[in-house]
Each structure stands twice: as structure tokens, then as C-alpha cells.
Amino acid sequence: MAIRIPALAESQIGPRARLRLLTWTTLLIVLILSALVWPAEARRFPEGWNLGLRGPVDAFQNWTVANRASSPIFTLFFDPLRGGIDASLRLVENWLLGLSWLSVLAIIGLLGYLGTGIRLALLCVGGLLLAGLFGLWEPSMQTLALMSCAVSLSLLCGIPLGIAAGLSPPFESRLRPLLDAMQTMPAFVYLAPVLLFFGIARAPAVVATLIYALPPIIRLTSMGIRQADPSAVEAARAFGATPRQLLLRVQMPLALPEIMAGVNQTIMMSLSMVVIAAMIGAGGLGREVLVALQRLNVGQALEAGLVIVALAIILDRLSAALGRIDLAAPPETVRRDVLAGWPARAFATRQDNPARVQNLQRFARVINAVLLLAIIIAADAALFHLGSFPADWRISLRGPANAAVAWARDNLYQIGGLPIGTGPLSDTLTIYLLNPGRNLLLDWLPWPAVILAVAGAGYAAGKWGLAAICASGMLLIGLLGMWTPSMDTLSQVLIMVLISVAIAVPLGVLSSQSPATRAVLRPVLDFLQTVPAFVYLVPVIMLVNIGRVPGLIAAVLYAVPPGIKLTELGLSQVPAETVEAARSFGATRAQIMLRVQLPLALPAIMLAVNQMIMMVLAMVIIAGLVGGAGLGLEVVIGLGKNQTGRGIESGIAIVIIAIIFDRITQAWAAYRDG
């Protein structure tokens, strides 16, 4: 957590600066004194002070369980909704599995070809072939079906909501806190309520994915509408367009790039829910990963993980490319390719209505692609009967991967009886970093001192308003009865963030300076960003002891890639003229970096830190699954033992910590920027 040091922010040491220095020194002394003199048994938040949120939530849960079959809320609303989702999901799934593997490949390949051409087509086909070759064809189709349902539902709800928000600022500002909550609330927290309303099966998995994937499409649609070229919108008004004409023919088409970016985001978000959705019965690739995690079968997890990565890449590139297809491009700019020619072109030449000829030519590629696809599907149905992916076409990574991890466990855990290796490393991290951190917040500092320190950080970043938010947030955590697990989590999160920053910022600086480093890092970072964290959790657990360390490593692996990318981006956006000016005065490369580039990129780097904190917080629950304790464990217990109240209390605590961290870092970055 980087906090502006107030004594240094003042350029001159005047009386004001001296006063500030005095204030901060006093604060520090108060903290140390309180740690020394406060009675040892009263350092944790008093247990009697509790809001008692758990009671009503659990009572509601019991009521729901008792009335699920009879209450009209269920018989008239949730049950039909669930039935509808289930039916449409089954429809898509049966359709995907009913099509032969060749037809599915043809669809994806043609979409890729229409998108950007032969390279994307090959990438798409190759990715899906991988699923088949790993023997994961059926789970992949299940995952695709679940995702297409969740994504379609998200778009169906999200685009109209986004348009409404884009047209009406009051609606937008009322919607925003809800979207913020949907994005920061860990998915595990609302899994429990979703299960309550929809029962266990695939419908709740769709709903949970929908909740997670909805915000970006709403935000981006609204942004697209709001930012549609104001001069074009004004021109349309000046020519007497009705609000409806304005929306449908000007604002929506102009917002299309943002809407497509939202579709892309929504697809990626729903793909990242695959494993979590499998925890409540979604099946598909997520289930494969979970089963592998339970059996500690690295190879199986790796194969499923690779297929998820392949799907992510395919869907990302496809949705990005489909957004760029310019069907309205004038005929002469349409690329000449296989699909643009016969038979649509030939048909066009026989028409004599010029408008129809033009339309035929403009949409020739799409028409031809659809024709080709129809031929393939018809031929398959009538002649080949290919069906499911052939069972004897297999490649396997399981053997080698499992062997490699077994070798690593036997040889790297402790090297030759010396205190080196992953085992001793894990012990060192626990004894010298994690334990002291937890002790500091739980046993050394009394609870008012912790609140004071967080409020102080808030004050340093954003004056009294933020200090008040921080203090009341911390107090609320205590009143929820979550003080002890929260301090455990907070200490872990601080250490995870420190380690992530210590790795990401130097690597970001290095990669901004050296194209070679960038070239090496880029694929590694892309892989880490797309592979589900559960997949690399398996080898990590095998190499270090269960406890807080595997969670820490997973969180760092999860947070470092965006940190590196954003740091690099921030440095690359420092104006070239400024750097050139510094160089023209004879500054060395180190001087340019330290005196010009880093200070100018500081707000951007601060946003990178902000992102890393959010990523680390997203890993709190996964860390809890593998022995990280703290709030993550509370959420997992809440979900596993059906104690919804406990789960929600701990979920709120995570959200509060996230909001405090987010506000402090954002305020700090904004202060430096302005």
C-alpha cells in the first residue's frame, strides 16, 4: 500500500509541513503506545458488539427451504424461470452435441474466416481439435452451451439496460452502485442465495454467470451511447429526427464498437466463471478441473485448463473480429477472397435491379458461408454420420505432466537435505512474513488502533471524507462479527500485494525498456491471465504445504500479469517529447527513468497497484479453499455447510475491504494526476 508521505509532498519545509510531520509522528507514537499498553485480552473487536445480520438471513433461508414447493414466489416466478433457462440450455446443448464434430468445426472455422481470414479460421479449428484430442469434446460442448445461454441472457438484459442508462444520467447513477457491488462481490457469496432461489443444477449456474457477466455489457453499452459523436447526434436532431430515429439509426450504430467490446468482455467474464459454476452443478470443463483438483491429478487439470484457455482465445478473437466485420463497406473495398465469389456473385450478375445487385455483392461472403455450411451439415446428415469426436484420436498430456510434477515434488521440495527448496521456502514465508503480519493486526495492535491506522491512510489519500469512509468500513466489519478473519485476510492481502508490486513494477519497467523482455513475457502473461487459477493451484499445492502459502503464490501469479501490463502501459504513455527533451539535455537512461518517466507514470502505476489489489482480493476465497483461512474460509464454510448468513457476512466484509483499498488507491492516483 503506497501512501503519499505528507512530509515530502511539500516542496518547502514551512510551518505547515512541520505541523504535518508532527501529526504523523504523533499518530505513529500513539499506535506503538497502544500496542504496548492496551490490555492483551481486549485487543480483538468486542464480540458482544454485533449487528446480528446472520439471524434474519438464516431465518429467511429456512423459510425458503420450507416453502419452496408452495410459495407463489417460487411456483409462479422462480420455478418457471428456472424451467425456461433449463430448457433453453438443454436445447443448445443437444443441438451442439447432435451436430457432428465436423459441423461444429465448420461453423467455428467459417466464423473465423469471415472475421479476419484464414489464420483465425485455423486457430479456431485447431483450438477445438485440441478439445477433441484431449477427450474433452463433450464437456467442451456443455461449457459452450452454458456460456452461450448465459451470454445471450446477459445481452438480452444488458443491452436494453445499458441503452436506458446511456440515455438517462439519473438512471445511470442509480444503477452504478449496483454494478459496482456485482463486480466486487465474490461470486461465491451470491452462489448461496442463487442456489436458494433456483435449486441445485445448471439453471443456478447460468444465473450466477449472468450476475457476474452482466456489468460490462451494461457499462459499455451505456458508454457507447453517451459518447456517440455529439456532432452527429446534434446533426440528426437538427434534421428533425425523432428520439426513436435518433436511437436506432444514429446512436446505436455509432455505439456498435463499444457494444461489441461489451459482448467480448461478457464472454470472457462468463468463461472465467466456468470452474466456479461447476461447483453448483454446471458440469462441463469446470467439473473436469474440480475433479482433477480433488484427485490432485495435475495432468487432468492441465488438459481441461488448456482447453479452457483455447476456448478463451477462440471466443476472444472471434468476438473481437466479428465486431470489426464491416458488412456495410462499399463493394470495391470488400476483400477479394474465396467466399466473396461464386455463387453469390454469379447470382448477382443475373439480377437487373441495381439495389439488389449491390446488396448481393455486399453480403456475398455471408451468403456463401451460410450456403457452404448448409452443404456440410446436409452431407453429414445424409452421408457421413460422423457424430461425436472419434474416441481413438487422442493425444495425452496427463502422463508426462504428472510425471514432471511427481519429479518436482520428490526433488525440489527439499534439495539434498539442505534448507533450500519449495518446502523450506514455504516455511520461511509463513514464519517470517505471514505470521508476523497476522500477529501485528490481531494481537499486537488493539482494534481501535487498526481502525485509526486505516483511517490515517484514508486521510493521507483523500482527506477527511475518505478517512471517515475507511473508519466506518472497518467498524462495520467488526460489527458484522468478522474482525478476526478479516484481520487474518487483511494481513495476507497486504503481503500478497507487497510481493506482487515488488515483482510486477520492476518487470513492467524492464519490459517497457527492452523489447526482448517484452517478447518473452507476453505469452507467459497471456497464459496466466486466461488459465483458471484452479489449474495452477494443483502443482502449487503439491510443491508447498497446504496452508496460507499456496493461496499467496496463486494470488501473486494472478495479480502480477495485469500489474506488469499496466505499468508498461503507463510508462509507454509518457509523452515522447518530454523524454526527448530530457535526452537533449544529456540525461542518462537511468536519470530519464527515475526523474522523468517514473514520476510521470506514477498515477498509471498506482492504477496498476489498484488493479493488483482487486485481483488479490478476488483470490481470497480460492486461498481459503486451500487452507488460507480468514474470510475465504468463512465464505467456503458458509456455502458448504449451508450457512448463508455466515457466507453473506464474510462476503460483505470482503467487499468492504475491497472498497477501502479501491478508494484509497484511486484517490491517491487522482491526487497525483490532478
Binding site: 459523436d229 456532432s231 452527429a232 446534434e234 446533426a235 440528426a236 436532431r237 437538427a238 434534421f239 428533425g240 429526427a241 425523432t242 430515429q245 439509426r249 444514429v250 450504430p253 455509432l254 456498435l256 456495410a328 463497406a329 462499399p330 463493394p331 439495389a355
Partner: protein, 344 residues
């Protein structure tokens, strides 16, 4: 100074105000009454302050002002793209400020159309669909509007570019599309909001010539906003100088050059090309018809000094200034012309 129109005016603007802020109506009331609590509205921005003028049919009325003078806000008040805080805007005898939504839309679809500073083209539509836009919102069928749009594209010299997208055109060509789009609905009134200021000087000049060429045959009533005094002189039948939301002076180019009402206007006209603005009639020494011999050279009252100069230079004696009926109104000589040209 207000010019009283001689022909029937087609657009009349009376005491139009536009105030931006939280409580514009209250701010207007306070400012108008000059009450003491006007200071309460110090955070309000008065963009247009009691502007009145009228424009005759077929006239090109230029509003010239520096940035922030309120000229763009003023032109938007004329078709209520910006809602005026107070005042009256009459178009063909109807007050547009009391019109309902539907009536206002009809006005925008048929009577008033606009050309924008940043073109305001629809980037997702081909040139021809951009030009046909006004007809499309009017509900005119595809074939008919495309034919009309095709004619407009030819008129502005973009023949053959109809199927291109705006981004494939240069800035000057894009503004030709903007012009064609405005002309396609055959409006009674054209509003120009700094249409050429985003173009580079050579193209700007070319577009001014294009507009003059079109206007010589179409004679549309036009309100033209610009910050370029030279452009105002070239295009305007009359020019209004705007400053701090008010009209400082309204007059023909010649009136402004000869009789600037304030130092502010004088600063603009200082560098005006006087030879191209001033006419023989305005600088001549008036005399009875018989005072100058009829055998010498003659110039018309409306002759610009630019053209009168070679005649005066070639002739030692006075040059007669005559009207259309060849009746002499006065005379010019070298000293008079040189004096008029170098007077600063």
C-alpha cells in the same frame, strides 16, 4: 445599431437570451430587472445577452465573433438545438419558441437546416445516405430520396463519391457532403456554424467560392457564423459583430469599414482589404449631375475601388460616378481614392 429591414424579413430574433447554469430563469429575471441579487447568479454563464436582429429573404447574414462570444450558442437558439432562456425567434411569422415537439420537428425537417463546424456526418453511412438523411427522417421513399441525394451530390461537385464512407473523404469533401445534406431538404433557411474553420486555408478559400457560386443561383436565406473577419467580408450581405453575448454592431461590410462604432470593431476592420470592400458611391464627393463632364470615364455607384482604381489612375481629371440610369451622383479623383485606401 440596428438595421431596419426594407424587404419582408424571413427570420426575426427579438431579445434572445441564453443563460447556462442551475437556475437560468431566475438568473435572467435578476439580470433583466437589474436587482441587487444578480450577484447570486455569478456562477451562471450568460452566453447570449438580449440579441435582436432580422434577416431578409435571400440575404446572407454573417455573425462574426471570437471564440466564447456566444455566436455558436446563438445560431443553435435559432432552431432550438439550444433552448433559449428568453426571447422570441420568428420564422416566417411563427414564433418557434412556443412550438411543440412535433411542430418543431416539422420545422427542422422542412424549413431550417444546418451545416456544422465538425461536419456532423454519420460515419456509419455512405455519402449518399448521409445526404439523404433529412429526406429519410421525413419519411420519403428510398428511391426518391436517393435520386434527390444524387442530384445534390452532383451540385456540390462530388459526382461518383456517393458509395464511399465519409472517412474515405478529405475534410473539404466531407464538408461538401455536409452542405449537400443541408441543401437536400430544400430548406428556406440555412444555418452555418463555422462550417469552414476546421479546413486549411486553401480549402477554406475554395469552399467559400463554392458557397458563393451556389448562393448566386440558389439565393437561400443564410445565417453564417464565423470567427474570421475576412470570411465575413467575402460572404456576408450584412455582418453582425458579436462580443460577450451581445451584438456590438450590425451593418454591411462597407458600413463597418467606414463607420466602426467602437474601438473593438475598428480593431477588426483595420486590416480589411478596403479596395475590395469600399464602393465608389461611398467615398465620392457628391455633386449635381452637371458638375462633371459627361465625356470622361464613368464608374457605377456600386463599383468596388479595386475596379475603379485603374480607371482613376489612367485619368487625370475627376471620374464621374453614375447610377444605373447613368445619372451622375458625384465624382472621384486620385487623392480621394488613395486617401480612402490608406485611411486606417
Amino acid at each position: 445599431m440596428t438595421v431596419v429591414p426594407t424587404d419582408q424579413p424571413t427570420l426575426i430574433c427579438r431579445d434572445v437570451w441564453k443563460i447556462f447554469g442551475r437556475e437560468p430563469a431566475h438568473a435572467y429575471a435578476a439580470l433583466h430587472a437589474g436587482t441587487a441579487d444578480a450577484g447570486r447568479y455569478a456562477d451562471h454563464m450568460v452566453a447570449v445577452r438580449g440579441v435582436s436582429f432580422s434577416v431578409r429573404r435571400g440575404e446572407t447574414f454573417v455573425v462574426m465573433g471570437l471564440s466564447g462570444s456566444g455566436k455558436s450558442t446563438l445560431v443553435r437558439c435559432l432552431s432550438r438545438l439550444t433552448e433559449p432562456t428568453h426571447g422570441e425567434v420568428q420564422i416566417d411569422g411563427r414564433n418557434i419558441l412556443t412550438m411543440g415537439d412535433a411542430e418543431l420537428r416539422e420545422l427542422r425537417r422542412h424549413t431550417v437546416s444546418m451545416v456544422f463546424q465538425h461536419f456532423g456526418l454519420f460515419p456509419h453511412r455512405r455519402v449518399i445516405d448521409n445526404v439523404a438523411y433529412g429526406l429519410e427522417v421525413r419519411g420519403i421513399g428510398r428511391r426518391e430520396r436517393q435520386e434527390q441525394a444524387e442530384r445534390m451530390i452532383d451540385l456540390v461537385g462530388l459526382t461518383g463519391w456517393g458509395n464511399h464512407l465519409p472517412r474515405q473523404l478529405s475534410g473539404g469533401m466531407q464538408q461538401r457532403v455536409g452542405l449537400a445534406r443541408a441543401l437536400a431538404v430544400n430548406p428556406a433557411i440555412l444555418l452555418f456554424d463555422e462550417p469552414f474553420s476546421a479546413l486549411d486555408p486553401l480549402i477554406r478559400r475554395e469552399m467559400q467560392d463554392e458557397l458563393l457560386r451556389l448562393q448566386s443561383s440558389l439565393r437561400k436565406t443564410s445565417i453564417f457564423i464565423t470567427h474570421d473577419f475576412a470570411e465575413a467580408l467575402r460572404l456576408g450581405d450584412r455582418i453582425a459583430i458579436m462580443r460577450h453575448g451581445q451584438l456590438v454592431q450590425v451593418g454591411t461590410p462597407e458600413e463597418l469599414v467606414l463607420r466602426p462604432s467602437s474601438d473593438y470593431v475598428r480593431a477588426f476592420v483595420k486590416d480589411a482589404p478596403r479596395a475590395r470592400v469600399l464602393t465608389a458611391g461611398s467615398i465620392m464627393i457628391a455633386c449635381p449631375p452637371s458638375a462633371v463632364g459627361t465625356d470622361g470615364p464613368r464608374v457605377a455607384l456600386a463599383t468596388k475601388l479595386e475596379e475603379a482604381l485603374p480607371i482613376v489612375a489612367a485619368h487625370d481629371g475627376p471620374v464621374a460616378v453614375v447610377d444605373e440610369a447613368l445619372v451622375t451622383h458625384g465624382h472621384l479623383n486620385r487623392a480621394l481614392v488613395l486617401h480612402a485606401l490608406c485611411q486606417a
